[in-house]
Amino acid sequence: MSTSTQSQPAAAPQRGGEYLLEVQGVEKHFPILRGAFFKRKVGAVRAVDGIDLAVKAGETLGLVGESGCGKSTTGRLMTRLLEPTGGKVILEGRDISHLGVSQMRPLRREIQMIFQDPYSSLNPRHTVGSIIGAPLQVQNIKTAHGQKREVQRLLELVGLNPEHYNRYPHEFSGGQRQRIGIARALALQPKLIIADEPVSALDVSIQAQVVNLLDDLQREFNLTYVFIAHDLSVVKHISDRVAVMYLGKVVEVGPRDGLYAEPLHPYTYALLSAVPVPDPDRRDKAQRERVLLTGDVPSPIDPPSGCRFRTRCWKAQDICAQEEPLLRELQPGQTVACHFPITTEERSGKGAQAARAAAAEIPVAASTDPFAEPIA
């Protein structure tokens, strides 16, 4: 098992009270079972493998990584939809790692979740009224003007017609459904909302509307967000801080501006170079400077030794295979888990070119010329 979680003064300092939610060395290993009668454990998917994160009240923490790196699992651990197999989840100073359903129930008013798929997150057999009213019912909350009025208020809040109280989810578009999901999350007036890729299933034209709605709501209700996304461009505008995940680990955390301007981890660097550049004058240069990662993401069942990124890292040395890099604070508030962080020279034109060349040399199965592909 990994022993990575010793040195996080920067990521999760013990200054209790300042943090709304903390996870300390949190792990989720899904057992792989075989056998018809008696299930034997033959291995484990190490979806989340020792993560430290802390969320300050009022901020938005972006959580970014490729598909399958464990972002949703982290979100579900934070909301205690999943029970961690190791480490701690701490909500307002209270360890909630192993609380049962009924012990968790009152705490669920504090922390809510917005789900990835607006089609499967709403029960097709319930009306909008009963979907948004469910939290009030479950928590047995009496509102001043009755549940119906409260639900209609929430519908209005997220920009939907309160008359649509009795409609079924299928009568709404994807963006409207996601608004219903947001209204449900707001019903309990939580402090913290975990938004799991809330816009990635939506049309690009609608994504901005939903992100803006979340932004407005945050200001109005002083909400704290953990905003999950699979690329850095989505979280750029909404986040105060960003955490980058790779294969069940956090590889870099930092303030938004610092991390986007000066990424320290090679993986963050590569992710950033893949962000589409809107300005056509700069786009050409940006494309030339792109670092494209080759090779597949390794399996979380049997992750590489040492640094998990080493199979795709152009800077990897022997030590990367032997010793797991721990998170170190290299810039104020910006921590990185890498033996050879990106240097200032490397970020200049020449250095970027060298990085590109080196990245391309990493052996790949089924390689096409990655540089021939324009950015979508």
Binding site: G68, L81, R105, Q116, S120, P135, V138, H170, H230, V297
Partner: protein, 333 residues
């Protein structure tokens, strides 16, 4: 948009589970899935003449069963009237040969051998017993099947293994032998007997419902609305019966309709073997069994209750198949 070879292996739905669900997420069938159950069923059923015929026959038979005493006032003779004049004791108690079981204007379906009772009233009262036993056994089976199936599917693990093995066991059981053995040892009074027969039939038929419900639950529990319910603090009872059950109504309805005819045959078989309802309560299975001694002289005795069972079973099957086509999410239409 993301980089390099991004794999999509970890979408929220696990593929093997998704196969069993209604519609894969994001396909146009969504619009149909969301419509109210009644609407879907009705638009599709309206076009299905065969199913409609089945439904009419069922309605007819149910009305006959309910109003058997009223019908009997106008047609046929009271059920406990013995017409010794219609049978010939020197022929072993059957009506005169060549009269097709004694069929006449007065006795529409003939007379019973030995007792000389009106076969028509036996049949219409028999419909009551058949339907009553089959329907109540189905209700019990559906309740058992839904509760156990949904629990097994949602909780998985040990509960699921236990319930699934139990269902396998029951389905592989020599149920007729077991029923004969069991029913033979319980106290013999008419009310008891009907209760025991209903109990035995539901015990052997709930796994059919249980399997379907478990399978559907396995795929439903992966949907995010279940997690959404948990994230607002809902406990398992609310999730099972408020979130999951409304999504299971269609398959439950379809498979219950298909279990009814099986249960009708089950009841008839038990009565035929002498462990069903007790005489003098009329039952189609018992009429068939009585006919065994006489069919070489007059096949009509076997033919009349046999045809009645056949029509009832066929009607339920046709309607059930139609309902499945109209409602079953797996019939991608």
């Amino acid at each position: 948009m993301t980089m390099g070879p991004v794999t999509s292996k970890s979408d929220e739905q696990v593929p093997s589970v998704e196969e069993a669900t209604s519609t894969p997420p994001g396909v146009p069938a969504k619009a149909i899935e969301g419509r109210s159950l009644g609407q879907i069923a009705w638009t599709r059923l309206k076009r299905d003449k065969v199913a409609l015929t089945g439904a009419s026959v069922i309605v007819f038979l149910v009305l006959v069963a309910i109003f058997a005493p009223v019908i009997n006032k106008f047609l046929g003779h009271p059920i406990n009237e013995f017409h010794q004049d219609k049978i010939n004791p020197s022929l072993g108690g059957i009506p005169e040969p060549g009269t097709w079981g004694g069929i006449s204007k007065d006795f529409l379906l003939g007379v019973q051998p030995v007792t000389g009772r009106d076969m028509f009233s036996q049949i219409i009262y028999g419909a009551r017993v058949s339907l009553l036993v089959a329907l109540s056994a189905t209700v019990v089976a559906v309740i058992l099947g839904v509760v156990l199936g949904i629990t097994a599917g949602y909780f998985g693990g040990f509960v699921d293994s236990a319930v699934s093995r139990l269902m396998d066991l029951i389905l592989a059981f020599p149920y007729l032998l077991f029923s004969i053995a069991l029913i033979s040892v319980v106290p013999v009074t008419t009310a008891w007997r009907i209760g025991v027969v209903v109990g035995v039939i539901s015990f052997f038929s709930w796994p059919y419902i249980g399997r379907i419900v478990r399978g559907q639950t396995l795929s439903l529990r992966e949907r995010e609305f279940v997690e959404a319910a948990r994230s607002v603090g809902a406990g398992p009872t609310r999730i099972l019966f408020r979130e999951l059950l409304p999504n299971l109504v269609a398959p439950i309805l379809v498979y219950s309709t298909l279990v009814i005819p099986t249960n009708i045959v089950f009841e008839a078989s038990l009565s035929f073997l002498g462990v069903g309802v007790l005489p003098p309560t009329p039952s189609w299975g018992r009429l068939l069994s009585d006919a065994v001694n006489y069919y070489t002289y007059d096949p009509v005795y076997m033919f009349v209750p046999g045809l009645a069972i056949f029509i009832m079973v066929l009607a339920f099957n046709l309607f059930g198949d139609g309902l499945r086509d109209a409602l079953d999410p797996k019939a991608n239409r």
